[in-house]
Protein backbone atom coordinates (compact mmCIF):
# COMPACT_ATOMS: atom_id res chain seq x y z
CA UNK A 1 0.00 0.00 0.00
CA UNK A 2 2.92 2.30 0.64
CA UNK A 3 3.86 1.71 -2.96
CA UNK A 4 0.42 2.90 -4.04
CA UNK A 5 0.59 6.27 -2.29
CA UNK A 6 4.14 6.76 -3.55
CA UNK A 7 2.97 6.04 -7.09
CA UNK A 8 0.01 8.43 -6.77
CA UNK A 9 2.25 11.20 -5.44
CA UNK A 10 4.66 10.53 -8.26
CA UNK A 11 1.89 10.95 -10.84
CA UNK A 12 0.84 14.29 -9.32
CA UNK A 13 4.39 15.63 -9.41
CA UNK A 14 4.86 14.18 -12.88
CA UNK A 15 1.92 16.25 -14.13
CA UNK A 16 3.66 19.41 -12.95
CA UNK A 17 6.95 18.37 -14.52
CA UNK A 18 5.22 17.56 -17.82
CA UNK A 19 3.45 20.90 -17.98
CA UNK A 20 6.49 22.99 -17.04
CA UNK A 21 8.72 20.85 -19.25
CA UNK A 22 6.51 21.38 -22.27
CA UNK A 23 6.37 25.12 -21.62
CA UNK A 24 10.15 25.35 -21.67
CA UNK A 25 10.51 22.95 -24.57
CA UNK A 26 7.99 24.66 -26.83
CA UNK A 27 8.29 28.22 -25.58
CA UNK A 28 11.92 28.93 -24.89
CA UNK A 29 13.08 28.91 -28.49
CA UNK A 30 10.67 31.70 -29.40
CA UNK A 31 11.78 34.07 -26.72
CA UNK A 32 14.08 36.69 -28.09
CA UNK A 33 14.46 40.45 -28.03
CA UNK A 34 11.68 41.03 -30.55
CA UNK A 35 9.28 38.96 -28.47
CA UNK A 36 9.49 41.48 -25.64
CA UNK A 37 9.79 44.66 -27.67
CA UNK A 38 7.43 44.32 -30.64
CA UNK A 39 3.69 44.21 -31.01
CA UNK A 40 1.95 41.46 -32.96
CA UNK A 41 2.14 41.48 -36.75
CA UNK A 42 -0.96 40.77 -38.85
CA UNK A 43 -2.13 37.15 -38.87
CA UNK A 44 -0.22 34.91 -41.25
CA UNK A 45 3.02 36.85 -41.11
CA UNK A 46 5.90 35.63 -39.03
CA UNK A 47 7.76 37.59 -36.39
CA UNK A 48 6.35 40.11 -34.03
CA UNK A 49 6.16 39.99 -30.28
CA UNK A 50 3.82 40.51 -27.41
CA UNK A 51 5.06 43.80 -26.01
CA UNK A 52 1.50 45.13 -25.99
CA UNK A 53 0.31 42.18 -23.91
CA UNK A 54 3.15 42.40 -21.42
CA UNK A 55 2.58 46.10 -20.87
CA UNK A 56 -1.17 45.52 -20.80
CA UNK A 57 -0.88 42.79 -18.18
CA UNK A 58 1.26 45.12 -16.09
CA UNK A 59 -1.27 47.95 -16.33
CA UNK A 60 -4.41 45.90 -15.78
CA UNK A 61 -2.94 43.95 -12.90
CA UNK A 62 -1.24 47.01 -11.39
CA UNK A 63 -4.49 48.93 -11.38
CA UNK A 64 -6.27 45.92 -9.90
CA UNK A 65 -3.68 45.84 -7.12
CA UNK A 66 -4.24 49.55 -6.44
CA UNK A 67 -7.93 48.86 -5.88
CA UNK A 68 -7.73 45.42 -4.31
CA UNK A 69 -4.72 45.54 -2.00
CA UNK A 70 -5.93 48.27 0.42
CA UNK A 71 -9.34 46.66 0.80
CA UNK A 72 -8.02 43.12 1.06
CA UNK A 73 -5.27 43.96 3.52
CA UNK A 74 -7.62 46.19 5.54
CA UNK A 75 -10.18 43.42 5.78
CA UNK A 76 -7.41 41.01 6.77
CA UNK A 77 -6.25 43.37 9.52
CA UNK A 78 -9.80 43.54 10.79
CA UNK A 79 -10.06 39.75 10.87
CA UNK A 80 -6.79 39.43 12.76
CA UNK A 81 -7.41 42.29 15.20
CA UNK A 82 -11.14 42.32 15.81
CA UNK A 83 -12.26 39.17 14.05
CA UNK A 84 -13.25 37.07 17.04
CA UNK A 85 -16.86 38.19 17.02
CA UNK A 86 -19.85 37.49 14.86
CA UNK A 87 -18.90 39.89 12.06
CA UNK A 88 -15.45 38.34 11.93
CA UNK A 89 -16.97 34.92 11.49
CA UNK A 90 -19.25 36.11 8.70
CA UNK A 91 -16.50 37.99 6.88
CA UNK A 92 -14.14 35.03 7.13
CA UNK A 93 -16.79 32.67 5.86
CA UNK A 94 -17.76 34.92 2.97
CA UNK A 95 -14.10 35.40 2.05
CA UNK A 96 -13.64 31.65 1.81
CA UNK A 97 -16.83 31.23 -0.19
CA UNK A 98 -15.94 34.09 -2.56
CA UNK A 99 -12.53 32.49 -3.07
CA UNK A 100 -14.27 29.56 -4.66
CA UNK A 101 -16.50 31.69 -6.88
CA UNK A 102 -15.95 31.09 -10.60
CA UNK A 103 -13.95 33.96 -12.03
CA UNK A 104 -16.14 34.08 -15.12
CA UNK A 105 -19.07 35.12 -12.91
CA UNK A 106 -16.99 37.98 -11.52
CA UNK A 107 -16.28 38.89 -15.14
CA UNK A 108 -19.93 39.37 -16.08
CA UNK A 109 -20.56 41.28 -12.85
CA UNK A 110 -17.73 43.70 -13.67
CA UNK A 111 -19.16 43.96 -17.18
CA UNK A 112 -22.50 45.01 -15.72
CA UNK A 113 -20.89 47.61 -13.46
CA UNK A 114 -18.49 49.23 -15.87
CA UNK A 115 -18.78 48.12 -19.47
CA UNK A 116 -22.55 48.43 -19.75
CA UNK A 117 -22.91 51.96 -18.33
CA UNK A 118 -19.85 53.30 -20.20
CA UNK A 119 -20.69 51.42 -23.42
CA UNK A 120 -17.05 50.51 -23.79
CA UNK A 121 -14.75 47.61 -22.98
CA UNK A 122 -11.86 48.92 -20.95
CA UNK A 123 -8.74 47.91 -19.08
CA UNK A 124 -10.29 49.56 -16.03
CA UNK A 125 -13.23 47.14 -16.09
CA UNK A 126 -10.75 44.27 -16.23
CA UNK A 127 -8.89 45.70 -13.27
CA UNK A 128 -12.08 45.92 -11.25
CA UNK A 129 -12.84 42.27 -11.99
CA UNK A 130 -9.34 41.21 -10.95
CA UNK A 131 -9.54 43.37 -7.82
CA UNK A 132 -12.76 41.63 -6.78
CA UNK A 133 -10.97 38.29 -7.19
CA UNK A 134 -8.00 39.53 -5.21
CA UNK A 135 -9.79 40.92 -2.15
CA UNK A 136 -10.95 37.72 -0.41
CA UNK A 137 -7.63 35.99 -1.08
CA UNK A 138 -5.59 38.88 0.35
CA UNK A 139 -7.91 39.21 3.33
CA UNK A 140 -7.29 35.62 4.35
CA UNK A 141 -3.54 35.71 3.68
CA UNK A 142 -3.10 38.95 5.61
CA UNK A 143 -5.06 37.55 8.52
CA UNK A 144 -2.90 34.44 8.67
CA UNK A 145 0.29 36.48 8.47
CA UNK A 146 -0.76 38.93 11.18
CA UNK A 147 -1.81 36.07 13.43
CA UNK A 148 1.76 34.78 13.33
CA UNK A 149 2.89 37.85 15.28
CA UNK A 150 3.47 36.76 18.89
CA UNK A 151 0.97 38.06 21.41
CA UNK A 152 3.73 39.11 23.74
CA UNK A 153 4.81 41.77 21.25
CA UNK A 154 1.36 43.29 21.17
CA UNK A 155 1.03 43.13 24.93
CA UNK A 156 4.41 44.79 25.39
CA UNK A 157 3.36 47.69 23.20
CA UNK A 158 0.03 48.07 24.99
CA UNK A 159 1.76 47.89 28.36
CA UNK A 160 4.01 50.73 27.30
CA UNK A 161 0.91 52.83 26.85
CA UNK A 162 0.70 52.62 23.07
CA UNK A 163 -2.89 53.08 21.95
CA UNK A 164 -4.48 50.13 20.25
CA UNK A 165 -4.32 51.56 16.74
CA UNK A 166 -0.66 52.45 16.97
CA UNK A 167 0.13 49.04 18.38
CA UNK A 168 -1.73 47.52 15.48
CA UNK A 169 -0.06 49.61 12.79
CA UNK A 170 3.40 50.28 14.18
CA UNK A 171 4.08 47.03 15.96
CA UNK A 172 1.84 44.25 14.71
CA UNK A 173 1.51 45.20 11.05
CA UNK A 174 5.14 46.21 10.83
CA UNK A 175 6.28 42.89 12.24
CA UNK A 176 4.07 41.03 9.79
CA UNK A 177 4.96 43.35 6.91
CA UNK A 178 7.17 40.90 5.03
CA UNK A 179 4.44 38.27 5.20
CA UNK A 180 1.73 40.70 4.14
CA UNK A 181 3.77 42.01 1.21
CA UNK A 182 4.66 38.56 -0.07
CA UNK A 183 1.05 37.49 0.39
CA UNK A 184 0.00 40.44 -1.76
CA UNK A 185 2.60 39.58 -4.38
CA UNK A 186 1.42 35.99 -4.60
CA UNK A 187 -2.20 37.14 -4.78
CA UNK A 188 -1.26 39.52 -7.59
CA UNK A 189 0.60 36.74 -9.39
CA UNK A 190 -2.48 34.54 -9.14
CA UNK A 191 -4.81 37.07 -10.72
CA UNK A 192 -2.19 37.94 -13.35
CA UNK A 193 -2.91 34.56 -14.90
CA UNK A 194 -6.68 35.04 -14.93
CA UNK A 195 -8.33 35.10 -18.32
CA UNK A 196 -12.03 34.45 -17.90
CA UNK A 197 -12.88 37.69 -16.04
CA UNK A 198 -11.07 39.72 -18.71
CA UNK A 199 -12.92 38.31 -21.72
CA UNK A 200 -15.76 40.81 -21.51
CA UNK A 201 -13.96 43.59 -19.68
CA UNK A 202 -10.42 44.24 -20.95
CA UNK A 203 -11.44 42.33 -24.10
CA UNK A 204 -8.01 42.28 -25.71
CA UNK A 205 -6.38 44.54 -28.25
CA UNK A 206 -4.04 43.73 -31.10
CA UNK A 207 -2.34 47.09 -30.88
CA UNK A 208 -0.18 48.72 -28.31
CA UNK A 209 -2.33 50.75 -25.93
CA UNK A 210 -1.70 52.62 -22.71
CA UNK A 211 -5.19 54.01 -22.22
CA UNK A 212 -7.05 52.34 -19.38
CA UNK A 213 -10.40 53.46 -20.75
CA UNK A 214 -9.78 51.47 -23.93
CA UNK A 215 -9.68 47.73 -24.55
CA UNK A 216 -6.32 46.30 -23.60
CA UNK A 217 -4.41 43.11 -24.31
CA UNK A 218 -3.01 40.97 -21.52
CA UNK A 219 -0.70 37.97 -21.67
CA UNK A 220 -3.47 35.62 -20.57
CA UNK A 221 -5.91 36.87 -23.23
CA UNK A 222 -3.16 36.66 -25.80
CA UNK A 223 -2.47 33.03 -24.92
CA UNK A 224 -6.17 32.21 -25.25
CA UNK A 225 -6.52 33.85 -28.66
CA UNK A 226 -3.28 32.42 -29.99
CA UNK A 227 -3.83 28.91 -28.65
CA UNK A 228 -7.30 28.63 -30.15
CA UNK A 229 -6.30 30.27 -33.44
CA UNK A 230 -5.40 28.40 -36.63
CA UNK A 231 -1.84 29.60 -37.29
CA UNK A 232 1.41 27.80 -36.42
CA UNK A 233 2.99 31.17 -35.74
CA UNK A 234 0.29 31.95 -33.20
CA UNK A 235 0.78 28.66 -31.43
CA UNK A 236 4.49 29.36 -31.19
CA UNK A 237 3.82 32.77 -29.61
CA UNK A 238 1.20 31.24 -27.30
CA UNK A 239 3.78 28.83 -25.86
CA UNK A 240 6.31 31.60 -25.45
CA UNK A 241 3.76 33.87 -23.76
CA UNK A 242 2.71 31.05 -21.48
CA UNK A 243 6.34 30.46 -20.54
CA UNK A 244 6.81 34.14 -19.68
CA UNK A 245 3.58 34.25 -17.66
CA UNK A 246 4.43 31.04 -15.84
CA UNK A 247 7.97 32.21 -15.19
CA UNK A 248 6.63 35.39 -13.61
CA UNK A 249 4.18 33.49 -11.41
CA UNK A 250 6.80 30.92 -10.40
CA UNK A 251 9.39 33.53 -9.57
CA UNK A 252 7.00 35.32 -7.24
CA UNK A 253 5.83 32.07 -5.63
CA UNK A 254 9.38 30.90 -5.00
CA UNK A 255 10.48 34.26 -3.62
CA UNK A 256 7.45 34.39 -1.36
CA UNK A 257 8.18 30.90 -0.14
CA UNK A 258 11.78 31.77 0.57
CA UNK A 259 11.04 35.07 2.30
CA UNK A 260 8.30 33.72 4.54
CA UNK A 261 10.42 30.74 5.50
CA UNK A 262 13.35 32.96 6.46
CA UNK A 263 11.04 34.91 8.65
CA UNK A 264 8.79 32.40 10.30
CA UNK A 265 10.83 29.23 10.28
CA UNK A 266 9.60 26.18 8.43
CA UNK A 267 5.89 26.68 8.88
CA UNK A 268 3.50 24.62 6.83
Amino acid sequence: MTGLVVALSFIAVLALVLILGNLVLKGASSIDWAFFTRSPVPAGQTGGGVANAIVGSGLVVGLAALIGVPIGVGAGMYLAEYGSGKLGFIVRFIADVLNGTPSIVIGIVAWTFIVRPTHRFSALAGSVALAILMIPMLARTTEEMVRLVPHSLREAALALGYPRWRTSLKVVARTALTGIVTGCLVGIARVAGETAPLLFTALGNLNFSLSVTQPMQTLSLQIYVYATGPFEEWHRLAWASALVLMGLVLMISLTARWVTRQRYGSGS
Binding site: M1, V5, V6, L8, S9, I11, A12, L16, L18, I19, N22, G74, A75, Y78, E81, Y82, S84, R92, F93, I94, A95, D96, V97, L98, G100, T101, P102, I104, V105, I106, I108, V109, T112, F113, I132, M137, A139, R140, T141, E143, E144, G161, P163, R164, W165, R166, L169, G183, V186, G193, T195, A196, L199, S220, A227, A242, L245, S253, R257, S268
Partner: protein
Protein backbone atom coordinates in the same frame (compact mmCIF):
# COMPACT_ATOMS: atom_id res chain seq x y z
CA UNK B 1 -8.51 39.99 22.22
CA UNK B 2 -10.30 41.31 25.23
CA UNK B 3 -10.47 45.05 25.37
CA UNK B 4 -8.82 47.02 28.12
CA UNK B 5 -11.26 47.75 30.93
CA UNK B 6 -10.82 51.49 30.55
CA UNK B 7 -12.23 51.36 27.03
CA UNK B 8 -15.92 52.04 26.77
CA UNK B 9 -16.37 52.39 30.52
CA UNK B 10 -16.99 56.07 30.14
CA UNK B 11 -16.63 58.89 27.67
CA UNK B 12 -13.57 59.98 29.63
CA UNK B 13 -10.37 60.18 27.60
CA UNK B 14 -7.90 57.44 28.37
CA UNK B 15 -4.51 58.35 29.80
CA UNK B 16 -2.98 58.89 26.38
CA UNK B 17 -6.05 60.26 24.65
CA UNK B 18 -6.26 57.14 22.52
CA UNK B 19 -9.93 56.31 22.98
CA UNK B 20 -11.19 58.24 20.05
CA UNK B 21 -8.47 57.34 17.58
CA UNK B 22 -8.85 53.71 18.55
CA UNK B 23 -12.51 53.87 17.73
CA UNK B 24 -11.79 55.52 14.40
CA UNK B 25 -9.18 52.91 13.57
CA UNK B 26 -11.57 50.13 14.34
CA UNK B 27 -14.27 51.78 12.29
CA UNK B 28 -11.99 52.08 9.27
CA UNK B 29 -10.97 48.43 9.43
CA UNK B 30 -14.59 47.41 9.90
CA UNK B 31 -15.39 49.34 6.74
CA UNK B 32 -12.83 47.33 4.79
CA UNK B 33 -14.13 44.11 6.27
CA UNK B 34 -17.71 45.01 5.38
CA UNK B 35 -16.60 45.27 1.76
CA UNK B 36 -16.66 41.48 1.56
CA UNK B 37 -20.28 40.82 2.57
CA UNK B 38 -21.24 43.85 0.49
CA UNK B 39 -19.42 42.45 -2.53
CA UNK B 40 -21.16 39.14 -2.06
CA UNK B 41 -24.61 40.74 -1.95
CA UNK B 42 -23.77 42.94 -4.92
CA UNK B 43 -22.72 39.97 -7.06
CA UNK B 44 -25.91 38.16 -6.15
CA UNK B 45 -28.05 41.21 -6.84
CA UNK B 46 -26.43 41.97 -10.20
CA UNK B 47 -26.83 38.39 -11.38
CA UNK B 48 -30.42 38.20 -10.18
CA UNK B 49 -31.54 41.49 -11.67
CA UNK B 50 -29.84 40.80 -15.01
CA UNK B 51 -31.30 37.30 -15.12
CA UNK B 52 -34.80 38.50 -14.27
CA UNK B 53 -36.18 38.65 -17.84
CA UNK B 54 -35.08 35.07 -18.48
CA UNK B 55 -36.29 33.96 -15.06
CA UNK B 56 -39.73 35.46 -15.78
CA UNK B 57 -39.98 34.09 -19.27
CA UNK B 58 -38.75 30.52 -18.81
CA UNK B 59 -39.33 29.87 -15.12
CA UNK B 60 -37.77 26.79 -13.57
CA UNK B 61 -38.01 24.86 -16.85
CA UNK B 62 -34.82 26.73 -17.83
CA UNK B 63 -33.02 24.08 -15.83
CA UNK B 64 -34.33 21.00 -17.60
CA UNK B 65 -35.15 21.99 -21.18
CA UNK B 66 -32.41 21.58 -23.71
CA UNK B 67 -33.26 23.92 -26.56
CA UNK B 68 -30.73 26.72 -26.89
CA UNK B 69 -31.88 28.76 -29.84
CA UNK B 70 -30.89 32.44 -29.88
CA UNK B 71 -32.82 33.01 -33.11
CA UNK B 72 -36.11 31.76 -31.70
CA UNK B 73 -35.23 33.26 -28.30
CA UNK B 74 -35.67 29.92 -26.59
CA UNK B 75 -33.23 29.01 -23.89
CA UNK B 76 -32.82 25.89 -21.77
CA UNK B 77 -29.64 25.14 -19.89
CA UNK B 78 -29.95 21.39 -19.40
CA UNK B 79 -27.06 20.37 -21.72
CA UNK B 80 -24.57 22.66 -20.01
CA UNK B 81 -25.79 21.73 -16.54
CA UNK B 82 -25.41 18.03 -17.35
CA UNK B 83 -22.03 18.70 -18.97
CA UNK B 84 -20.84 20.65 -15.93
CA UNK B 85 -21.90 17.86 -13.59
CA UNK B 86 -20.41 15.09 -15.73
CA UNK B 87 -17.06 16.79 -16.31
CA UNK B 88 -16.74 17.71 -12.63
CA UNK B 89 -17.72 14.20 -11.59
CA UNK B 90 -15.11 12.70 -13.90
CA UNK B 91 -12.54 15.14 -12.52
CA UNK B 92 -13.37 14.16 -8.95
CA UNK B 93 -13.16 10.48 -9.87
CA UNK B 94 -9.62 10.92 -11.14
CA UNK B 95 -8.41 13.59 -8.72
CA UNK B 96 -9.55 12.14 -5.40
CA UNK B 97 -7.32 9.03 -5.39
CA UNK B 98 -4.38 11.11 -6.60
CA UNK B 99 -4.87 13.88 -4.06
CA UNK B 100 -5.57 11.57 -1.13
CA UNK B 101 -2.56 9.51 -2.14
CA UNK B 102 -0.41 12.63 -2.04
CA UNK B 103 -1.85 13.72 1.31
CA UNK B 104 -1.42 10.30 2.93
CA UNK B 105 2.09 9.93 1.51
CA UNK B 106 3.09 13.36 2.79
CA UNK B 107 1.71 12.97 6.30
CA UNK B 108 2.28 9.29 7.00
CA UNK B 109 4.90 7.67 4.82
CA UNK B 110 7.27 10.20 3.28
CA UNK B 111 10.69 10.71 4.87
CA UNK B 112 10.83 14.05 6.61
CA UNK B 113 13.22 15.70 4.16
CA UNK B 114 10.90 14.91 1.24
CA UNK B 115 7.68 16.33 2.72
CA UNK B 116 8.14 20.07 2.16
CA UNK B 117 9.51 19.80 -1.40
CA UNK B 118 6.77 17.43 -2.60
CA UNK B 119 4.04 19.47 -0.91
CA UNK B 120 5.43 22.57 -2.59
CA UNK B 121 5.58 20.97 -6.02
CA UNK B 122 2.00 19.73 -5.80
CA UNK B 123 0.82 23.13 -4.60
CA UNK B 124 2.58 24.72 -7.56
CA UNK B 125 -0.03 23.04 -9.75
CA UNK B 126 -2.47 25.55 -8.27
CA UNK B 127 -0.27 28.43 -9.41
CA UNK B 128 -0.47 27.49 -13.09
CA UNK B 129 -2.98 29.78 -14.83
CA UNK B 130 -6.08 28.14 -16.23
CA UNK B 131 -5.32 29.32 -19.75
CA UNK B 132 -1.89 27.64 -19.61
CA UNK B 133 -3.61 24.40 -18.65
CA UNK B 134 -5.83 24.92 -21.67
CA UNK B 135 -2.86 25.48 -23.97
CA UNK B 136 -1.12 22.37 -22.65
CA UNK B 137 -4.34 20.42 -22.94
CA UNK B 138 -4.88 21.36 -26.58
CA UNK B 139 -1.37 20.61 -27.78
CA UNK B 140 -0.11 17.90 -25.41
CA UNK B 141 -2.93 16.22 -23.52
CA UNK B 142 -5.33 15.68 -26.43
CA UNK B 143 -2.72 14.09 -28.73
CA UNK B 144 -1.66 11.91 -25.79
CA UNK B 145 -5.25 10.84 -25.11
CA UNK B 146 -5.78 10.14 -28.80
CA UNK B 147 -2.76 7.89 -29.22
CA UNK B 148 -2.22 6.31 -25.82
CA UNK B 149 -5.44 6.38 -23.80
CA UNK B 150 -8.51 6.20 -25.99
CA UNK B 151 -7.57 3.15 -28.16
CA UNK B 152 -6.94 0.79 -25.19
CA UNK B 153 -9.97 2.23 -23.36
CA UNK B 154 -12.15 1.54 -26.37
CA UNK B 155 -10.71 -1.93 -26.78
CA UNK B 156 -11.67 -2.89 -23.25
CA UNK B 157 -14.75 -0.81 -22.48
CA UNK B 158 -15.87 0.17 -25.97
CA UNK B 159 -19.24 -1.54 -25.49
CA UNK B 160 -20.32 0.74 -22.62
CA UNK B 161 -22.40 3.84 -23.36
CA UNK B 162 -19.58 5.99 -21.98
CA UNK B 163 -17.26 5.31 -24.89
CA UNK B 164 -19.50 5.61 -27.94
CA UNK B 165 -18.59 7.63 -30.97
CA UNK B 166 -15.37 8.83 -32.52
CA UNK B 167 -12.76 10.68 -30.50
CA UNK B 168 -11.86 13.93 -32.25
CA UNK B 169 -10.01 15.47 -29.34
CA UNK B 170 -12.19 18.10 -27.74
CA UNK B 171 -14.39 16.04 -25.47
CA UNK B 172 -15.81 15.38 -22.05
CA UNK B 173 -12.78 13.15 -21.41
CA UNK B 174 -10.24 15.86 -22.22
CA UNK B 175 -12.15 18.41 -20.13
CA UNK B 176 -12.50 16.05 -17.20
CA UNK B 177 -8.84 15.05 -17.19
CA UNK B 178 -7.58 18.63 -17.28
CA UNK B 179 -10.02 19.55 -14.49
CA UNK B 180 -8.72 16.62 -12.45
CA UNK B 181 -5.13 17.86 -12.69
CA UNK B 182 -6.26 21.38 -11.78
CA UNK B 183 -8.12 20.40 -8.60
CA UNK B 184 -5.56 17.92 -7.27
CA UNK B 185 -3.52 20.63 -5.49
CA UNK B 186 -6.59 22.00 -3.66
CA UNK B 187 -7.82 18.63 -2.47
CA UNK B 188 -4.30 17.50 -1.59
CA UNK B 189 -3.44 20.67 0.38
CA UNK B 190 -6.62 20.63 2.43
CA UNK B 191 -6.50 16.85 3.02
CA UNK B 192 -2.92 17.18 4.17
CA UNK B 193 -3.81 19.83 6.72
CA UNK B 194 -6.73 17.71 7.88
CA UNK B 195 -4.53 14.65 8.34
CA UNK B 196 -1.91 16.74 10.13
CA UNK B 197 -4.64 17.83 12.55
CA UNK B 198 -5.34 14.22 13.52
CA UNK B 199 -3.77 13.76 16.98
CA UNK B 200 -0.68 11.55 17.08
CA UNK B 201 -2.26 9.55 19.88
CA UNK B 202 -4.79 8.10 17.41
CA UNK B 203 -1.99 6.72 15.27
CA UNK B 204 0.01 5.49 18.22
CA UNK B 205 -2.97 3.69 19.71
CA UNK B 206 -3.53 1.77 16.50
CA UNK B 207 0.15 0.96 16.14
CA UNK B 208 0.27 -0.19 19.75
CA UNK B 209 -2.55 -2.60 19.00
CA UNK B 210 -0.29 -4.22 16.44
CA UNK B 211 -1.60 -2.49 13.34
CA UNK B 212 0.78 -1.93 10.45
CA UNK B 213 1.33 1.67 9.37
CA UNK B 214 -1.16 1.31 6.58
CA UNK B 215 -3.72 -0.30 8.88
CA UNK B 216 -3.25 2.56 11.32
CA UNK B 217 -3.95 5.04 8.54
CA UNK B 218 -7.02 3.15 7.40
CA UNK B 219 -8.52 2.33 10.77
CA UNK B 220 -7.55 5.36 12.86
CA UNK B 221 -6.34 8.36 10.85
CA UNK B 222 -8.77 8.40 7.94
CA UNK B 223 -11.95 7.86 10.03
CA UNK B 224 -10.87 10.59 12.44
CA UNK B 225 -10.40 13.11 9.63
CA UNK B 226 -13.36 11.96 7.57
CA UNK B 227 -15.43 15.17 7.76
CA UNK B 228 -12.44 17.26 6.77
CA UNK B 229 -11.51 14.96 3.90
CA UNK B 230 -15.04 15.08 2.53
CA UNK B 231 -14.82 18.86 2.89
CA UNK B 232 -11.60 18.83 0.87
CA UNK B 233 -13.23 16.81 -1.90
CA UNK B 234 -16.27 19.08 -2.00
CA UNK B 235 -13.95 22.09 -2.16
CA UNK B 236 -12.31 20.49 -5.19
CA UNK B 237 -15.75 19.89 -6.68
CA UNK B 238 -16.54 23.60 -6.27
CA UNK B 239 -13.38 24.52 -8.17
CA UNK B 240 -14.19 22.06 -10.93
CA UNK B 241 -17.76 23.32 -11.38
CA UNK B 242 -16.69 26.89 -12.05
CA UNK B 243 -13.41 26.38 -13.89
CA UNK B 244 -13.62 28.20 -17.18
CA UNK B 245 -10.72 28.68 -19.56
CA UNK B 246 -9.11 25.25 -19.69
CA UNK B 247 -12.50 23.59 -19.98
CA UNK B 248 -13.70 25.97 -22.66
CA UNK B 249 -10.62 25.15 -24.70
CA UNK B 250 -10.94 21.38 -24.29
CA UNK B 251 -14.52 20.28 -23.85
CA UNK B 252 -15.74 20.96 -27.36
CA UNK B 253 -18.64 23.30 -26.59
CA UNK B 254 -21.57 21.35 -27.99
CA UNK B 255 -25.16 22.05 -26.96
CA UNK B 256 -26.23 18.43 -26.57
CA UNK B 257 -26.75 16.05 -23.73
CA UNK B 258 -24.59 12.96 -24.01
CA UNK B 259 -22.86 10.63 -21.62
CA UNK B 260 -20.12 9.45 -23.97
CA UNK B 261 -16.76 10.63 -22.69
CA UNK B 262 -15.44 10.79 -26.24
CA UNK B 263 -18.02 13.29 -27.44
CA UNK B 264 -17.87 17.07 -27.08
CA UNK B 265 -19.97 18.57 -24.30
CA UNK B 266 -20.56 21.97 -22.73
CA UNK B 267 -20.35 23.53 -19.28
CA UNK B 268 -22.08 26.55 -17.79
CA UNK B 269 -18.85 28.49 -17.42
CA UNK B 270 -17.82 27.66 -20.98
CA UNK B 271 -21.17 28.81 -22.31
CA UNK B 272 -20.76 32.22 -20.70
CA UNK B 273 -17.17 32.51 -21.91
CA UNK B 274 -18.08 31.59 -25.47
CA UNK B 275 -21.35 33.32 -26.01
CA UNK B 276 -21.49 36.36 -23.78
CA UNK B 277 -19.76 38.70 -26.21
CA UNK B 278 -21.87 37.57 -29.14
CA UNK B 279 -25.16 37.80 -27.27
CA UNK B 280 -26.97 40.45 -29.23
CA UNK B 281 -30.43 40.48 -27.72
CA UNK B 282 -31.46 41.30 -24.19
CA UNK B 283 -33.03 37.89 -23.71
CA UNK B 284 -29.82 36.16 -24.82
CA UNK B 285 -27.82 38.21 -22.29
CA UNK B 286 -30.39 37.54 -19.64
CA UNK B 287 -30.29 33.79 -20.28
CA UNK B 288 -26.50 33.81 -19.92
CA UNK B 289 -26.84 35.80 -16.70
CA UNK B 290 -29.23 33.17 -15.45
CA UNK B 291 -26.60 30.54 -16.25
CA UNK B 292 -24.17 32.66 -14.24
CA UNK B 293 -26.66 32.94 -11.39
CA UNK B 294 -27.15 29.17 -11.28
CA UNK B 295 -23.39 28.66 -11.36
CA UNK B 296 -22.82 31.22 -8.61
CA UNK B 297 -25.49 29.82 -6.31
CA UNK B 298 -24.31 26.25 -6.83
CA UNK B 299 -20.65 27.08 -6.15
CA UNK B 300 -21.55 29.17 -3.11
CA UNK B 301 -23.57 26.31 -1.62
CA UNK B 302 -20.86 23.77 -2.44
CA UNK B 303 -18.12 25.96 -0.99
CA UNK B 304 -20.15 26.74 2.12
CA UNK B 305 -20.65 23.03 2.79
CA UNK B 306 -16.96 22.37 2.20
CA UNK B 307 -15.91 25.15 4.57
CA UNK B 308 -18.23 23.98 7.33
CA UNK B 309 -16.81 20.47 7.08
CA UNK B 310 -13.20 21.70 7.01
CA UNK B 311 -13.71 24.17 9.85
CA UNK B 312 -15.04 21.34 11.98
CA UNK B 313 -11.59 19.81 11.88
CA UNK B 314 -9.44 22.94 11.73
CA UNK B 315 -11.39 25.89 13.05
CA UNK B 316 -11.20 29.02 10.93
CA UNK B 317 -8.42 27.60 8.79
CA UNK B 318 -7.83 29.36 5.49
CA UNK B 319 -6.41 26.34 3.72
CA UNK B 320 -7.03 26.33 0.02
CA UNK B 321 -8.21 29.91 0.24
CA UNK B 322 -5.19 32.06 0.99
CA UNK B 323 -2.67 33.12 -1.59
CA UNK B 324 0.34 31.49 0.04
Amino acid sequence: MTSLPIEGSSRRQSLLGADRSDRIYRRILTGFALALPLLFLMILAVLFVSALPALRRFGPSFLWTSTWDPVAELYGAAPMIVGTLLSSFLAILIAVPLALGVAIFLTEFAPRWLRQPVAFLVELLAAIPSVVYGLWGVFVLIPFLRTAVVPPLKAVLGWTPFLQGVFYGNSLLAGGVILAIMIVPYIAAVSREVLLAVPGSQREAALAMGATRWEAVRSAVLPYGRAGLIGAIILGLGRALGETMAVTMLIGNRHDIGISLLQPAYTMAAAIANEFSEATTNMYHSALFEVGLVLFVVTVVVNAIARILIWRVARGAAIGSRAL
